[in-house]
């Protein structure tokens, strides 16, 4: 080949060109005329800046690299069109010496920010339409066989009953999917113990298992909760596994005796709460329509005053009517004193009055960004900020997660309904059409494998060109089921939002990497 820059023999995508020179078998097969020429094309990535410095997020590896001025120039050039190596070097020659460009190209090929491919040259008499049809994609990489993932988290719905009647609730509201009427409202002690046994049996060689209680209102079944926890700790001691226990509650039943028990037993608690009095009382109401703020807030304050060892978090449901993220955060973090506050938009079909529409997502993004900027300020000053949405995403970016599935549902996480049916996750617990097995009979492997195969990111065509797919992977199955009636559907209604938010978190990440890299060690 005549190219000025030969792709390095060490680059994975350049093997075809270098091999021809060294493999005897090909020397007889190669025709005399030159059929192809090496070309460079941009790979799949997203570029962003951290504190003014150029960065790149590679897809699908989810690697984050800082670029220098030469590699920026190379990517800029290839962002316009494909280049032959010699042309690329020539176009950058006025600015950068050849060895620098060569080095940058080799490194970018190595990490697959750019791909080398062979372009067919026009041949006399050949059908050129076929040749023009397209250049080669990088060689496909076979997916490794799927390994059985041990269960790390079991979410046990100890009751499907609730003492609140939140309008937007997916368990009871207009979009409910569970067959609650045919199931017991409360889980009995035997089923709770069987759930614990199931958890240990499915946990493989995991040394720590997470047992999470959920509802309904979890604390309505306090008796079973208590006995399940002591049984789990007892069995864990015998089996040599640590059991981490947590629960979610609406906070209405946090009486002193329950608080004592939570603190003594190191139970991690998440309180579902939507903000200050006015915000909370819009949707989080008792059955008579009365708001729950004045019941919940004093309970939470009493609980937090006990300074439990396990951090207590608040989990906020955002609706079209309740989108003032910053003021909600101020109330829950600063006034109430929650250790962290996480936000999620309500899961609902689009036509509901409280569904967040496009402009709502835009508003939410602005508010999230405001808090992300504040998180960054805190991080650079070495202080802890309580907005958990940023923290969680930073951790995923730091680890370079590239997800085959949007979450662990049906894999490392499962949900148990009150009757002992095992489903994808707590949101599907009680829905017969999303059942994967039972706590006594175990998991139906055929159903599980089929489910995981169908929901693999490779099967979500909509996601195949999105740079945010390593982190999003199509989004929540339950959200998709509620919006589109299909768990396999990518959540297209919030794609723009996810990309914008991921970009913001990448910028925060890179800025921290520039100015206070030691802050990121907490995610190692």
């Amino acid at each position: 080949m005549t190219a000025a820059i030969k792709p390095s023999a060490t680059s994975p995508d350049a093997t075809a060109t270098t091999r021809t020179a060294t493999t005897p078998a090909t020397s007889t097969a190669l025709p005399a005329a030159k059929l192809t020429t090496t070309m460079f094309r941009r790979g799949e990535y997203h570029r962003f800046a951290g504190d003014g410095a150029p960065y790149v997020y590679l897809v699908p590896s989810a690697a984050v690299f800082r670029l220098d001025d030469v590699s920026v120039a190379v990517l800029d050039a290839l962002g316009q069109r494909d280049y032959e190596p010699a042309d690329l070097a020539l176009s950058l020659a006025p600015q950068f010496p050849l060895p620098d460009v060569k080095e940058a190209v080799e490194e970018l090929v190595r990490v697959r920010a750019i791909n080398a491919f062979e372009k067919r040259l026009p041949q006399p008499g050949a059908d050129e339409t076929a040749a023009a049809a397209g250049a080669a994609l990088p060689a496909p990489v076979a997916a490794p066989p799927r390994k059985r993932v041990p269960l790390t988290t079991l979410v046990v719905n100890v009751t499907s009953k609730c003492n609140l009647a939140c309008t937007y609730c997916y368990e009871y509201g207009e979009d409910k999917i569970t067959e609650a009427s045919t199931k017991p409202r409360f889980m009995d002690e035997a089923t709770a113990r069987q759930s614990v046994d199931f958890m240990f049996a499915e946990s493989g060689d995991q040394k720590i298992v997470h047992l999470t209680f959920f509802g309904g209102e979890t604390l309505l079944n306090f008796k079973v909760l208590k006995s399940a926890l002591s049984y789990a700790r007892e069995r864990g001691a015998v089996l040599g596994k640590a059991v981490d226990v947590s629960l979610t509650t609406n906070g209405t039943l946090l009486r002193t005796e329950i608080i004592d028990w939570l603190v003594e037993n190191d139970v991690g608690v998440t309180v579902s709460m939507d903000g200050g009095r006015e915000q909370q009382n819009q949707f989080r109401v008792f059955k008579n329509g009365m708001g729950s703020y004045d019941t919940v807030a004093p309970n939470v304050k009493e609980f937090l005053a006990r300074k439990p060892r396990r951090p207590v978090g608040a989990r906020v449901t955002l609706t079209k009517q309740n989108l003032d993220v910053v003021s909600i955060y101020r109330h829950l973090a600063d006034e109430m004193g929650f250790f962290e506050v996480g936000f999620a938009p309500v899961t609902t079909s689009w036509q509901r009055d409280y569904a967040i529409q496009d402009e709502g997502f835009f508003e939410m993004l602005g508010q999230f960004r405001f808090l992300a900027a504040e998180y960054l300020e805190y991080a650079l000053a070495g202080k802890r900020h309580r907005f958990s949405n940023v923290r969680d995403t930073l951790e995923e970016i730091h680890k370079g997660l590239s997800k085959s599935h949007p979450c662990g549902a049906g894999m490392g996480l499962m949900g148990v309904a009150t009757d002992g049916d095992v489903a994808l996750c707590h949101r599907f617990a009680g829905s017969d059409s999303h059942k994967l097995g039972t706590v006594t009979g175990g998991v139906n492997r055929e159903l599980q494998d089929d489910y995981l195969a169908r929901h693999h990111i490779e099967n979500k065509t909509d996601c195949s060109t999105c740079w945010a797919r390593p982190l999003c992977a199509g989004g929540c199955y339950h959200e998709a089921h509620t919006r589109y009636g299909d768990t396999q559907q990518a959540n297209l209604h919030y794609c723009e939002w996810i990309r914008s938010w991921t970009n913001t978190c990448l910028e925060v990440y890179a800025t921290i990497a520039e100015r206070r890299p030691e802050f990121l060690q907490q995610f190692d």
Binding site: T15, A16, T20, A63, L67, D68, R110
Partner: protein
């Protein structure tokens, strides 16, 4: 690396794992003879060139192709000719692993 700096954990792994010679190792396995699967196997179709006329996009390295045919069948490979006679042979096959049943039968 001189031009790029690995920042997150995954970038460091990419950096480590792509250090040193990178090549297709299928035919370089020193532990014994390589017995090819035969070129009629749909994942190893035995084309000399990929859709752009080059070799970079082949699903097997070019040597595999040559070696296959050398040992187990005649040359050129006896799969339909995608470029002249059967351009639509695999048009319904988006991903061979899933869609191979949709590949047409071709009669000479």
């Amino acid at each position: 690396m001189a031009r790029l700096k690995a920042v997150n954990q995954k970038a460091r792994r990419v950096d480590e794992q792509t250090l040193g010679p990178q090549d297709v190792v299928g035919l370089q396995n020193p532990t014994g003879p390589n017995i090819p699967l035969g070129c009629s196997f749909v994942f190893s179709p035995g084309w000399e060139v990929d859709s752009s006329g080059g070799t970079a996009g082949l699903c097997q390295p070019v040597e595999r192709d040559l070696y296959d045919c050398h040992i187990t069948c005649f040359w050129p490979a006896h799969v339909p000719d995608l470029y002249n006679h059967a351009p639509d042979w695999v048009s319904k096959c988006a991903a061979a692993q899933k869609d191979w049943r949709k590949i047409d039968l071709i009669f000479p």
